[in-house]
């Protein structure tokens, strides 16, 4: 007894340790890698493509591109450059990516691509530096000064900060004559931004342009979007150039700000940068994988989630086994159901997962019944055991073949499921059932088959659940807990449920 308790104590400690480990690992996967308990959750992913094009002039090429520094409410999922033959170097501190190459002749097309996903819990914090003191512009003449004064007089009738007022004024549908005279005929965002910055500088308000990409569906080869950044009350505020709305929009990915350029190309001319945006939807699990890989590559590289999808699918299939095994152990040692062969029900259940329940069940029953009939006929031939069981195996294969062909031509999917059943197992079920039938009567044979199918069906419903399969794969550390439980069950010396009925007559009446 003492030995039992020490073994049990040890195993209990092991179980507790595995539970603690699994809980921490699960927490880590959810909090850091973004794994989810739900298998089907979808997430939006934005792919932003920056297409850089330029004509080389024969000199060594150096392309320097500003990379996103503030992502609004988004986080980077993956980031890569397509620049064949270029040496790519990323400078995290300056938020720039540098691509260098020897001189080339043909027109160059380089791509920088980032994938972004919605992240609710980060608010876009904009890194800030203090601006230099603004130098008030020198007016060309008195007339210009007067015009500016008049514009500011109009702007002051509006509400809000100086920047907001001036932006609103410059964007009115019917412009005031003074404003109309001030602005050029061609009003591109860049010109408008420059004008606003100039006007603000007359009031000593520092302002500058920021460039980025507004995430919109079906954006193709568009110029960078502009916004205005104004230094107000010791911090930079971002303004929409057209509406005067303050704040960085959630869907604006900021590439460049301040005095640095968006794109520098040396060794080429006629450079241009165009942005394309594509929105796609992927499962949150897939996304979490990419994200974990991007953010924590060293640890993640040694997990199963970094494997190619073929290997992952095999593992996904394997990861459900321990739970099925636990179920078999519980059903046998705690409930006390006896089946044909220890793991036969689990193998049948796995076949059912592949075929689908109804079709698999019907198909399996047909194979067993036909097999039993053939096996009974074989009895009369007085064959030796090994050749006889082999003959049953071949018959099972032939029945499967027949059912599959028949199922294909009648388009009756129920029958096409035949080929998925484990042949040897099926043949042994038939052989055992037949022997039991001869030795212990039909009742016992049927009872054993029913028990086996019953356990198989229970196992099927556990392992076929998408939810459970996802959890056992995404949080595979729980397999360790299952191992501990199975080992602990190895010390369970209490009564089995069926024994409570079997030994009920032994209860002494008081």
């Amino acid at each position: 007894m003492k030995k039992l308790y020490s073994v049990r104590g040890l195993l209990t400690l092991f179980l507790i340790a595995t539970i603690i480990f699994a809980t921490i690992a699960t927490w880590y996967k959810i909090a850091v890698w973004g794994f989810s308990f739900k298998p089907t959750e979808k997430a939006d992913v934005w792919t932003v493509d920056a297409h850089i094009a330029f004509e080389p002039n024969g000199q060594p090429i150096e392309v320097s591109l500003a990379t996103p520094r503030s992502l609004g409410a988004y986080r980077i999922l993956s980031e890569d450059t397509v620049a064949k033959g270029y040496e790519v170097r990323k400078n995290e501190k300056n938020h720039r990516v540098k691509m260098t190459s020897k001189g080339r002749s043909a027109k160059q097309n380089l791509y920088y691509r980032i994938k972004l996903y919605d992240n609710e819990d980060t608010t876009g914090k904009v890194w800030a530096d203090k601006p230099a003191k603004v130098q008030k512009p020198q007016f060309e003449n008195e007339q210009q000064k007067q015009m500016v004064d008049e514009i500011w007089a109009l702007a002051d009738e509006k509400e809000g900060s100086k920047a907001k007022r001036i932006i609103e004024l410059l964007n009115e549908e019917s412009l005031a004559p003074e404003v109309d005279a001030f602005l050029p005929v061609k009003k591109t965002p860049k010109i408008m931004a420059d004008k606003i910055i100039w006007l603000l500088s007359t009031k000593s308000v520092p302002a500058r342009v920021v460039r980025g990409v507004k995430l919109m569906e079906k954006k193709r080869a568009a110029n960078a979007d502009l916004m205005l950044e104004v230094y107000e009350g010791s911090k930079w505020q971002v303004y929409n150039i057209e509406t005067g709305t303050m704040g960085l929009p959630k869907d604006f990915v900021l590439f460049q700000r301040g005095d640095v350029s968006l794109l520098d190309v040396s060794g080429g001319y006629n450079s241009s940068i165009k942005f394309s945006v594509v929105k796609s939807v992927i499962s949150s699990f897939k996304m979490a994988n990419s994200r974990a890989k991007y953010e924590n590559s060293r640890l993640f590289n040694y997990t199963i989630y970094d494997l190619p999808s073929l290997e992952q699918n095999i593992l996904k299939w394997l990861m459900i086994f321990p739970l099925g095994i636990l179920l078999v152990v519980v059903l046998r040692n705690v409930i006390g159901i006896s089946t044909m062969g220890t793991f036969t029900p689990m193998l049948v259940a796995m076949a059912l997962v592949r075929t689908g329940f109804v079709s698999g069940f019907i198909c399996f029953s047909v194979i067993i019944i036909l097999g039993l009939i053939i096996r009974t006929l074989l009895t009369r031939l007085n064959l030796l055991l090994v050749p006889r069981i082999s003959a049953v195996v071949i018959f099972v294969i032939l029945i499967m073949q027949l059912l599959t062909v028949f199922g294909y031509h009648t388009e009756w999917k129920v029958i096409a499921a035949a080929a998925f059943f484990p042949i040897i197992i099926t043949a042994w079920i038939i052989e055992r059932a037949c022997i039991t039938w001869e030795e212990e009567g039909a009742r016992n044979a049927v009872k054993q088959i029913v028990n086996t199918l019953f356990v198989a069906v229970i196992t099927y419903f556990v392992i076929s659940s998408d939810y459970i399969r996802h959890i056992m794969f995404a949080f595979n550390e729980w397999n360790l807990v299952i191992l501990a439980i199975v080992m602990l069950l190895g010390t369970y010396t209490g009564y089995r449920l069926t024994e409570l009925k079997r030994f009920a007559p032994l209860v002494k009446e008081k």
């Binding site: 090994v386 010396t493 209490g494 089995r496 024994e499 079997r502 030994f503 032994l506």
Partner: protein
């Protein structure tokens, strides 16, 4: 709905009745008292028989052994001169694969149930047996051909065909529980309780019937022969217990089952031993094994010889 639940006992009720469950049997009794390396001694009936004969325990005489497929055709030469015999797998259990030939004449074999078989059918049976159909792990097996036991007239009316044997549970060399299993029409001459045989619990001191059960329910009369089962008393009870007790030294197994038959002329004989004896004996006796096991551990003297242990049981068993 509630009736269904009522048919289940509560675990604490079984515990207080000292019932030994399957898990507890495997954990506390078998894995603790029976060394794995000793299993072959009892799993192979040919070996058991040799060991028994070495210490002068009676067993049915061996007529021959068929080890290989090509020897099966020699069956007729092996059994020549015997009109009755038993073919059994050396590695079988629970009476599986046992073929009792009551009468053999002119290439016709008559079984215990009166079924007539030709040579081909017997040949087929032995082939199956050699292929391991009835053996414990499905390994290749050996066919053992023994003389038929002429079971004592004492049991004549207690069993519908078949040989009633006495099953003893031996713990640390002490026979602690006993029963006899009587075949019925329903069990088709077989002695398995779950197939409808009658189990009769036996008193350890006298070999007298304590109670009888059929399908877990108490019975008084044999369902086919209608004999009062309470009148059953196993003769040569001391000799029965001695065979069981000696099996402990013979095998070194601390917890085992011994099947003993009573031959009309040769007296009690050891039929087979079992390293994993079943638990149905508790139902036949209406009492749990656990309390007796506890008593053995606590009160029964150690280091006694087989004879002394039997005497102790005959005088002190509760």
């Amino acid at each position: 709905m509630f009736d269904f639940i009522k048919r289940f006992a509560k675990p604490q009720q079984l515990r207080s009745s000292g019932v030994l469950g399957m898990n507890a049997r495997n954990y506390f009794m078998i894995s603790r008292h029976n060394k794995r390396s000793l299993y072959p001694l009892v799993d192979d009936k040919v070996q058991t028989k040799k060991l028994a004969n070495n210490i002068n325990i009676n067993t049915p005489h061996m007529i021959g052994v068929i080890e290989h497929q090509y020897e099966v055709k020699n069956l007729l030469q092996i059994v020549a001169g015997h009109s009755e015999f038993v073919i059994k797998p050396a590695h079988g259990s629970q009476g599986k694969g046992v073929l009792v030939i009551k009468h053999y004449e002119n290439n016709e074999f008559t079984t215990a149930s009166g079924k007539k078989l030709g040579f081909n059918e017997v040949y087929q049976h032995i082939s199956n047996l050699l292929s391991g159909l009835y053996s414990l792990g499905g390994q290749y097996d050996v066919a053992l051909i023994e003389e038929l036991v002429h079971f004592s007239d004492v049991f004549a009316n207690f069993s519908y065909q078949g040989i009633p044997d006495v099953r003893l549970i031996i713990y640390k060399g002490y026979p602690i529980m006993a029963m006899t299993r009587l075949a019925t029409k329903e069990s088709d001459g077989r002695a398995n309780l779950h197939q409808g045989a009658v189990g009769v619990g036996l008193d350890m001191r006298s070999g007298k019937a304590v109670q009888a059960v059929l399908h877990n329910l108490p019975v008084r009369l044999h369902p086919d022969t209608e004999v009062d089962l309470m009148t059953l008393q196993v003769p040569f009870w001391r000799e029965h217990l001695l065979i069981g007790s000696q099996a402990y030294e013979m095998t070194g197994l601390g917890y085992l089952g011994a099947d003993i038959v009573l031959d009309k002329e040769r007296g009690p004989m050891m039929l087979e031993l079992n390293a994993r004896p079943g638990l149905a004996i508790q139902i036949a006796n209406g009492r749990g094994l656990k309390e007796v096991i506890k008593n053995v551990d606590k009160y029964y003297p150690k280091n006694l010889s087989a004879e002394e242990r039997v005497d102790f049981v005959l005088n002190h068993a509760m």
